[in-house]
Amino acid sequence: MQKRTISYMVVAVFLLIGLAPVLSMLINSIVAEGRFSLGAYSSVLTSARQWNLMAHSAVLSLLVSTFATCLGVPLGLLLGKTDLPFKKTLTALFVIPLLIPPYIIAVAWVDFLGIQHLKGLWACVLVLSSAFLPIPMLLTMIFLRTINPRLEEAARLVSGWAGVLKTITLPLILPGILLGGIVVFLLTFGEFGVPNFLRYDVFAVESFTQFSAFYNFKAATASSVPLALVTLLVLLVEARFLRERTYQIRPTPDSIQSSTSIRLGKEKHFWLGMASLLAMALVIVPLLVLLLRSEGLNSYTQALERAGHSMVRSVTYAFWGATLLTIMGFFLGYIIHTKALAFWRSVDSFTIFLFALPATVIGIGLISLWNTPWTNFVYGTAAIIILGYLAKYTALTSRIMVTQFAQVPASMEEAAHISGAGWARTMFFIVAPLAKRGLLAGWIVAYIFSIRDTGISMLVYPPGHETLPVRIFTLMANGSEQLIAALCVLMIAATLVPAAILWSVPRLLAKRKVP
């Protein structure tokens, strides 16, 4: 059968992209000079410094996930559950920090406050909390929409909103809140750009420096295995307690939802003020600082001169990355949604594991797999960067597609089969067009995450294939503040402009058609 064959093929390709590097890294770390050896591990695990770094990582991740959750959930409630004016604009504003590499936010804050005032643990907490704040916020908003409004209405009859939120709404979205906290924890755990820049030593920086500064591949590998283990542990906890409940998110349509939004009444202005202040502090000020610091055409011409090629490359790689990620997500999402293969659940868990895995681990895995004389066509070209994107970000597109497929009745596909169409024809002419909104959303998200990727590209880029975030990161050591600020602005533009155009064009076309 076509469907089974293609499903197996897609999964096999994905395992080659994602599983093979991780395995290759594991094997490499326990083999020294052709023999089994745990030498690399014993040197990592017996050093007090490594344990100290691990503790730093844990403290930083806990603090960031606590702050981001404590701020993100109320914000999500305010933007997703009330009649606050300018909700959409505010939501879009708050999401921006997530869309750009976190170290750019660090650059902005340092430009604003000066590095002497902004370094160490709390600086990292500030920057990363504002970068990851959108995650708990968005998850809260998404989970709010999955609540059947009737449940809240029933409770409204006997209680005010405060009571309803406490006893009905919050318990119902608790899985979403915990999921948000976990995702932020893992992303912080794997982040090395910001701690590196703000001079706080954490474990993820270690495996990166072992590799890039000392060219000690064994040590880098051995120190990324603990990162992978922590990720696995956290995800197992997540799967044990949350997976079933976060499995298929089915948002209810706007029309039904609006019937149960909280009316803020007189407090409207107070909350609008609070939200605006927060947006000002976390988003607008940093962006303005960058814009002002980059003053003048001069710094932009200089920026384009020194990093123009990187910018073109970044956009190109992100374009191909997003396209391939969308195709991969389409098929994997379909396999997961239709349970086409007996092990669909493992496929899903594995994509999520890879997403949560620190970029250094994937990067080192890719290098250890592809750095052979026969595979230079991957190792020595942009292909290795794109493979990195595919390994790390497929979970995003496949999950978006699962949610999209859940909204297409199975009878659409069955009707096509009854009309005599085989699987390929049905996928191409019926399933894909019906899922086009998911495909578009998936492409945009994949583009953004590919272009903002720093972790993987930094490790795997071959000479002459630097992407813009990598180029900025290396220029940061000696470039002038103006130049760096201008580069950051260009980076933001390269991310947001294509995404915004793609997002709005179909909407405008759709509006024009309505008489």
């Binding site: 009707a415 089969h417 009309s419 005599g420 169409a421």
Partner: protein, 220 residues
């Protein structure tokens, strides 16, 4: 030769048995109505005949050919040459009415001219000749109903499966459409397997009614 034959078919979901040793023979040209309360397994029977699900045991035959047997689909849905009208109609919203009808003709590799001729002829047959360019969501419930029927008929199937197609319509429209359905069925000489939970509707359509009760036949 029987048009549809189910031979001691059993089907369970998890540990819930839906059909147990269910047998049913339908002669060519019959209009058989499956009548029964919600959850008794009517849709399951249609889906077994269509080939969307496989029997746990027993066999399904069409025109004397075994198409499913004992946990195996021998002939997939796209090769069973059936017409089917779904409970939710399942009109493809991104295609026009004409596109909905032409999809199956295209899959069969029929030439453009012939496709257009057949589509137009079938739309006229159900009284929707002037609506080919519309999208399904620009039609009323009764019109969508007719298009779904036309889509099932355009491939000239010998067997037509219908799953409560009229249940969402008001009584007036329901009466009119079922009359037309009977007329068309007689004209085209197809076998009809029709599911409903409405006794009155059944009595107007059926040449034979099969009353079901939780996975078995309670009376013929």
């Amino acid at each position: 030769m029987k048009s549809i034959e189910l031979d001691s078919v059993s089907k369970a979901y998890g540990n819930e048995t839906v059909l147990l040793d269910f047998s049913l023979d339908i002669e060519p040209g019959e209009r058989v109505v499956l009548l029964g309360p919600s959850g008794c397994g009517k849709t399951t029977i249609l889906r077994l005949v269509a080939g969307f699900i496989k029997p746990d045991s027993g066999s399904v035959s069409l025109d004397g050919q075994v198409v499913s047997r004992d946990k195996r689909i021998l002939v997939p849905p796209q090769h069973r040459k059936l017409g089917m009208v779904f409970q939710d109609l399942a009109l493809w919203p991104h295609l026009s009415v004409r596109g909905n009808l032409e999809f199956g003709l295209r899959a069969k590799g029929i030439s453009k001219n012939e496709r257009e001729a057949k589509t137009q002829k079938t739309l006229e047959l159900v009284g929707m000749g002037g609506y080919g360019h519309r999208k399904p969501d620009e039609l009323s419930g009764g019109q969508q109903q007719r298009v779904a029927l036309a889509r099932a008929l355009v491939l000239e199937p010998k067997v037509l499966l219908m799953d409560e197609p009229l249940s969402s319509l008001d009584l007036e429209l329901n009466r009119r459409l079922r009359k037309e359905l009977v007329r068309l069925q007689e004209k085209l000489e197809i076998t009809l397997l029709y599911v409903t939970h409405d006794r009155e509707e059944a009595s107007h359509i059926a040449t034979r009614t099969i009353s079901m009760e939780k996975g078995r036949i309670s009376s013929n």
